[in-house]
Amino acid sequence: MNRSEVLIFEKSSPGKRAFELPPLDVPSVKASEALGEFHRTDGVDGFPEVSEIEVIRHFTRLSTWNYAIDLGMYPLGSCTMKYNPRVNEFVARLAGIATEHPYQPQELSQGCLKILRLLEKCLLEITGMDALTLQPAAGAQGELTGLLLIRAYHQKNGNPRRKVLIPDSAHGTNPATAVIAGYEVENIKSNADGQVDIAKLREQVTEDVAALMLTNPSTLGIFEQQIPAIADILHAKSALLYMDGANMNALTGITRPGELGVDVMHLNLHKTFSTPHGGGGPGAGPVAVKKLLEPFLPVPVVVEKEGGKLALDFNRKESVGRVRAFVGNFGVLVRALAYILAYGPGVRQATEDAVLNANYIRKHLEGVFDLPYTRPSMHEVVFSDAIQKRNGVNTMDIAKRLIDYGFHPYTTAFPLIVPGALMIEPTESESKEECDYFIEAMRAIAEEAEKSPDLVKGAPHTTRVGRLDEVGAARRPVLRWKPTEKRSEAAD
């Protein structure tokens, strides 16, 4: 699919129109009279003017330039790009689900409230925690909520504390969030196995530390074996253990963070619970807590009243407040619940398959790619480009060459503690054949790196556009179309 497709504005022509409105059935009003000085006398300058067929063609053509889960594997570590079940899309669009206004009377929203309640119950069962908020819009917002809860807890106990400990292997949202929550970030170095260094932790946990933000399994895909000991060290100084739940896909049905000593954690519904990425969102980042943090949860909270009716409780004196308007990304929550209902207790099988796939791939690529941390992998495995670097080929090059083999790249250059990292997470959605194709492709590229490195370094060769000039885009940003743009620039 190599067609060039101009911008929708460049196809526009006055008088063309796609969506037509039913005629007005009330007396028309002169907007200029009704709005006076506030009236926009001309139309929105530059707005598209195209027909319906052009809209369909334009966006359909654009879509064919995208890679997607529906087309093939995304071996992206820590992203958990699993199948997005279509029934989830169907139920989210049902009349009576998609149409509800967040301010409508609660007695007319019992269906919505039941959905929220059941999802809460399921997520609490999965995590082994005591209470939950479904409000945060994404993982990062969930992290912020979690830290606000931690702060509120410490404040109530007389000392808000100043610092949050974060491993050097952590995802960037962790330190960014800690700062927004008003904390100082103190890095804690991983040990030679890529795990939290217990001795260092003992030194660094003081009464000035509010919490440790831990990802488990770590961003290396390795289970933090010492997590109960970590929790004990923190709790001894009344500090809390926050778990970044991005890697829940390795734990669901196998173990429960609540039983490991975690006090508060967030989940990424757009990772573990199959809600679609849609090119970058929306997601949802529910936060689960132990009882000690329950009083501080954001408002509103779903409660059960007499007679079994559900209601939203806004009257929570110790709540940290709201982190967003309304109740949450309800449409995303519906999809996550549909996913859980489809699996039921059998969701353990998904976790097993995810871990099986990752280990199968690891087994077949060990020796071909450098494996910096040799502890058992869970749902993802992290290699490095050390072997290929000897020929001047790095992880970015290998990732781009993978595109020529029909795959989306794995996660490059993260976590930061592995220079030249290749982070691979196949998820349970990949068949054995797909895993075998992936292994073949990676082995072929390793060989190319040795025998014909330029082929790898110049990749990708088969895409609609080649490597794009990111430097130019950053030096002189062009962030919108303007009418003076010449059409010829778009030509292939």
């Binding site: 497709e5 929708i8 969506f19 059935d25 009330v26 907007a31 709005l35 926009r40 139309g43 530059g46 319906e52 966006f59 654009l62 995208n66 997607a68 529906d70 087309l71 009576g96 149409t99 509800e100 206004h101 967040p102 929203s109 019992q110 399921c122 819009a137 994404a138 993982g139 990062a140 960037g172 330190p175 960014a176 927004i180 074996q225 049905g253 196998i254 990425h277 849609g278 090119g279 970058g280 969102g281 997601g283 940290v320 407040g321 967003r324 308007a325 309304f326 990304n329 489809a342 039921g344 353990r348 097993e352 871990v355 959605s429 895409t463 000039d469 950053a474 962030l479 919108r480 620039e489």
Partner: protein
Amino acid sequence: MRYLPKSPAERREMLAAIGVKSIEELFSSIPEAYRLKKPLNLPGPFSETEVVQYFQERAAENSSAYTSYLGAGVYSHLRSVVTDAILQRGEFLTSYTPYQAEISQGTLQAIFEFQTLMCQLTGQEVANASMYDGCTATTEAVLMAERLTGRQRVLVGRSLHPEYREVLRTYAKNSGLRVEEIPYAASGSLDLQALKAALREDVCAVVMQSPNFFGSIESLGPVAEAAHAVGALLIVAVTEALSLGVMKPPTEADIVAMEGQSFGLAPSYGGPYVGVIASKERFVRQMPGRLAGQTHDLERRRGFVLTLATREQHIRREKATSNICTNQALCALAATVHLSLLGKEGIREMAEQNVAKARFVLSALEKIPGVRRSFSSPFFNEFAVELPRSVKLVNAELLRSKIIGPYVLGAAYPELTKHALVCVTETTSRAEIERFAGALKAALESPL
């Protein structure tokens, strides 16, 4: 299980290839004591049919067959079926964040078009690839102003959506930001005198909404002037984006924080929606969220990439402009498709229909004894009215006629008990509006 592409034989093969006897061995790194011995107690497994059934039953327990006059930040508008037809294409629905530009040109070009549309609508120079919603966009705009000015005091109109103000306060609590509210005047607009009295050179921004929470359109010029005179920025929040189809864009603002839900996104009980931050170009390096930029490859083919990423969390970590990672790409796509379908003529026509419908319902309501507008300023599709009787009781009556009545203002504005926010859009028929007026009259006349 239908989502798992493995047969039992394949699982055995793979275990053998790895060199383990059972899947349990692959979990040996989890201490034995912490491995679950029983299956989770979850409902299901449900077949596809049963999943659908579950949600259809829940749908039936909601508000189908009621007509609603609620707005207050979430608006019902017509949506073309074409939008979903495009949104549901797997290449859009199931694609990842466009970090690998060469295989994400579809998403990136659509984002670039979205950014352009938002600039055109708001009259600003640059817009980002979306925020979670208008509410967090407003808070992020304030944090942006804080970074740009180095000041920590922000003045917020009380006529800004109550939940937007709540969220700002939650974020402010932890950042040293001091939030002060400026009252509204008798006209329903921001009290300019009170604002001027509060403005000093320690203010990073003035935040106001237009049309404001009461539906009144605000005059931005004098506020901008007053703010700029002390070196503060003007942030304008827009919750009903369709208003820009027929209203002058807020070019006086330095930053616009907008909720785009009106553009092709169903109300969906509160989300997901799509927020936008748009501002003057010189502020772009402090703008949070993703940005798609135009560039080209070696063969000079035009392409798009995520750019200025060094603002973001994955590079700056603790020095990032925000912690935001996920945005609302699919919702932004919905808005882009929706606006392309409406086009220049369509958005104006839809907005004008709203203007007409709102005035029609107002004139019908004003004929009812005791009912009058709370404020006198121009409005788009929403306005506040004062009723001679408790709004809660009136709404309870209206429910019996399968009408969801206007938003009760008394909860968030105790000085406005007996006032309610009426919203009507192009989706409500004349017959329904007349029925509403009749039912409201009856509710006001019925014995207590």
